[in-house]
Symmetry: C2
Subunit: 569 residues, 2 copies
């Protein structure tokens, strides 16, 4: 082929054919020149939605959101140079959380790498251990074998991103100039005829059957952060009923909302602050699904309890170092298999679940009564939010304070909700971009963020304009989680730890074309939420002004009151 | 030591003692908990200025600016997790440009790494080949040997960042809880008594003396991006005079402004668009100092010309693959050594320099005449800027269009100016943060940015409030460099390449507390520049509205007129 621009395009088309066959439906790109062949190829893929995002960091968190919401591999495309480095925070989150991303970095050809050429850095193996796979197929070549390779590479990269350890996959793609084909170039997608690649997943090994019964006594199930289907959750509830144990449902497990079960517990973080209850209900073993729970109280309390970890990924989530059995299987598949195999676990004790449920109900009532008489705070807001969010929609909960307060106050409900959180690396980064991506991924999603998380991802505000679900920002004057840590009150505390930002959120919203509603009480919040979710309009920002010192007092008083409750369970 | 918080602090203090002894005077930190021992230690270092910046990406570009302006190693500090990933774009720029940064990432202790603990990722060797050195000294230990190690590590890290190949150095620093010392902790800095570390730099090998004379014929000197002192520049001018060759001064060489020399050329990018001149003045050899020049015209014209590359760093800047001699030495030291050794290079030809200077003066006049009759454009703006910037101050010139237009129009002046550009990776990223850092580093610096560069680094706007030099933004509706590339006019061009942003810069400036002046002609610009530079006030933003299509036409007409000039040199 004498038209090198045409060769570049055909090569890029073949790769996208493979990626589309592998399930990719969305490509997020940041503008650049070297990436042009892939942009031209994406324009020729009817199956692909293409979203341009200027800031590569924002683009990557946007893609993360789309992939979280859709479960499909999402493509990211950028030009050569430092551009791909901006992806790194979202790549880490995707790696830790097991989210399928396909990273397509355009590059200069090998003859320019390492020779001081413009916008040329060493992009090979750039993401180190933080990607599942890295491929560098070299510059485009002509011929059917080359097209076959690129289609196969696309299918493979998509499959690797979705495999038994989902996560990001990096393809570094060098292109030689010219990057734009001549007028006679004929290049068409064949994605409709490319067969997807199936990867065979191993069934859980049967030798576990012999090992499990060694755990005797009373246990509990910990539903850690994960993504359960309704059927999967039903299988879990049946397992809990068979074993006669409670299920402590992490806020990011998705198990707090949807198909009801009497075994579902959500108040353990408060419950375990009551010393007698914590002592009386201490289990002999734990069956945990997914990553470690958000609750530090729970995690600390579980230290030294023998643990069975069931997780689809190859991650090794065991900060207490208590895992005795590690089962690399899909949690729902494990539940079904456990039932089919008619396995036993622990020693039956009918009194055990009864005591748990009694303690849970009592704490639930106490918390409700406490909120009824307390000044308005995040607890009320979260209860209102849970009550008002439409069935099956999503909530993105930021790290630091929001997810912890959500953990304390969310309770449960029978209508499903999807709760999203970037809890893999638990950064305060990328929240507004992730929110935009979740909505673009097909799940209408509201966000609950702190002011610092919100301001850490200013670029994401450029993507919020069309959103029909609000971004709720708790404005309490900086990083209030430090108010709960030993750093509180140190010299320079305000400037070096809490770091409040002198930015008016109303003006900021206006700048980015977002509606802005400021509230500071329950009635105001409920009205703002209802207004902002009215069909067809852009929802914008709900700024919730919170007196952080008062909030801290309310929470401290609550936990103290819990710790002093009479009558052990 | 039974107070582990105190041990952490003493350990951190010893490290900072070493870093301060090694020349560090500025630490830029982003808020976090795990990094607390180093924050506490920094508060006890009288020699350190501490700047908190919320967004780690912005913090890193800020630090890059401080280091560029001050020439000292600048510290960066962040907490564990994805935080350090945000540093990566600035780390790449620092590595490519040879800027000394000391990256201090707090980490969880080894027993939590890889076990799914919160905010814990694999931070070891995180920056791969993009740092000069990586150190992981493990968690703090007690005793004088441990303190001695940390002081030595601090001195070593500072020295490595400043060594014969300056650049970023990464220290990963795990801390165990508690992170805050008890009330009885006694921990004091001993930085005043720590001796700095001297690294012996090798003198240029004398065997070069024999090799150089093999280059015969007429040559030229290319002053690439670099940082010349006034004495160094004088040595260069003497070298040029001795050799009888012109010095083509890159806009980022710093050589266009300051001590005058008749051998100084700045109009080569235009000059070489005249085919007969380009052919007549083609040299037999090139002596280049520093990285490749900004001008693509120059670089293309120099292809296949045997080149001597003199660079302090170990980078290998030779995209044309023409370097015959590579001399790893400080350019100014090389010039002095060359004179002392009384070396010869090339074949003397008195006519050669005369023809160059004649062509330069002719183009200079033609360009001035052309601008006089052309509608107002970036060329006029740059000339006004060069005329008005105070002696010895700085100008940060963004990549993409601004640096290229600066290359075309800057000319020269006898009063010195420092021209800064993140040209290592040539990204459009981190510009506003770099600007804030340059000013914090001791050089009052004005910026010339495009609208996309400006909007790519929104977080940096939080750091501009106190600046007494303006940020000039050429608002021409997106990435206009694509207007000059083959992508121009492709279907979807506006949305996928040029990507104009729908943000009003006046509102944006107001949001971040910045003064805003919008101008669209020369008188307006000169007045806005003068007003914004009045002593003691915050300078804010100067938005320059440019009609991009008209500007493109003016530049095309200019180059065409140059190419058709009669009378070869």
């Amino acid at each position: 082929m004498s038209d090198h621009g045409c060769l570049n395009l055909c090569w890029a088309l073949a790769l996208l054919d493979g990626l589309v066959a592998g399930g990719m439906r969305h490509l997020v790109l940041s503008p650049g020149s070297r990436s042009t062949p892939l942009v031209l190829a994406a324009q020729r893929q009817a199956a692909l939605t293409v979203t341009p995002v200027l800031d590569e960091r924002s683009a990557a968190f946007f893609a993360l959101g789309v992939a979280r919401a859709s479960g499909r591999p999402v493509g990211l495309l950028c030009t050569s140079g430092s551009a791909l480095a901006h992806w790194f925070p979202a790549v880490i989150e995707a790696s830790e959380s097991g989210i399928p991303l396909v990273l397509l970095s355009a590059d200069r050809p090998p003859e320019l790498r390492g020779w001081g050429a413009n916008q040329t850095i060493d992009q090979t193996r750039f993401f180190g251990v933080h990607v599942r796979a890295f491929h560098d197929p070299g510059p485009p070549e002509a011929g059917p074998a080359a097209s076959k390779l690129m289609r196969a590479l696309g299918r493979r990269a998509a499959a690797e991103s979705l495999g038994d350890w989902p996560g990001p996959v990096h393809l570094n793609l060098p292109f030689r100039e010219p990057l734009v084909p001549g007028p006679d170039c004929v290049a068409e997608s064949t994605s409709g005829t490319v067969e997807p690649l199936d990867i065979q997943v191993q069934a859980p090994a049967t030798r576990i059957s012999a090992a499990l019964p060694r755990l005797a006594g009373r246990g509990l199930i910990c539903g850690g952060p994960g993504d359960w289907t309704a059927d999967g959750a039903d299988a879990l509830w049946q397992l809990a009923a068979r074993l006669g144990v409670p299920v402590l449902c992490d806020p990011l497990s998705g198990l707090r909302f949807g198909s009801a079960s009497s075994h579902r517990l959500t108040h353990y973080d408060s419950l375990l602050r009551h010393p007698a209850t914590a002592a009386a209900l201490k289990p002999d073993w734990v069956l945990r699904f997914g990553r470690s729970p958000v609750s530090k109280t729970l995690l600390g309390w579980l230290a030294d309890v023998p643990t069975i970890l069931v997780d689809a990924g190859r991650s090794w989530s065991d900060p207490n170092h208590d895992v005795r059995f590690k089962i690399d299987a899909d949690p729902a598949a494990f539940c079904a298999w456990f039932a089919d195999a008619n396995l036993k676990l622990g020693t039956p004790d009918p009194d055990w679940i009864a005591r748990w449920l009694q303690a849970e109900r009592r704490l639930e009532r106490f918390a409700a009564d406490y909120l009824d008489q307390a000044p308005w705070c995040e607890g009320h807001l979260i209860r209102d939010l849970i009550a008002q969010l439409p069935e099956g929609e999503g909530l993105l909960c930021a790290n630091s304070m929001p997810i912890r307060q959500f953990d304390t106050w969310s309770g449960q409900r029978s209508q499903p909700l999807r709760i999203f959180g970037n809890r893999g690396a638990s950064g305060i980064d990328g929240q507004t971009s992730t929110l935009a991506g979740l909505n673009a991924g097909g799940t209408p999603t509201t966000a609950l963020l702190g002011d610092l998380s919100f301001l850490h991802d200013l670029s994401g505000l450029l993507e919020l304009r069309a959103l029909q679900r609000p971004c709720i920002v708790i404005n309490n004057g900086g990083g209030r989680i430090f108010d709960y840590l030993p750093q509180h009150g140190l010299p320079g505390f305000e400037r070096l730890w809490r770091t409040p930002m002198a930015v008016d959120l109303g003006t900021l919203a206006h700048t980015f074309g977002l509606a802005h509603r400021q509230v500071s009480d329950g009635a105001g919040f409920r009205q703002a939420l209802a207004e902002s979710m009215q069909a067809g309009q852009s929802a914008g920002l709900i700024e919730v002004v919170i007196d952080a010192d008062l909030s801290r007092q309310i929470h401290r008083d609550f936990w103290q009151a819990v710790s002093r409750l009479r009558n052990d369970p």
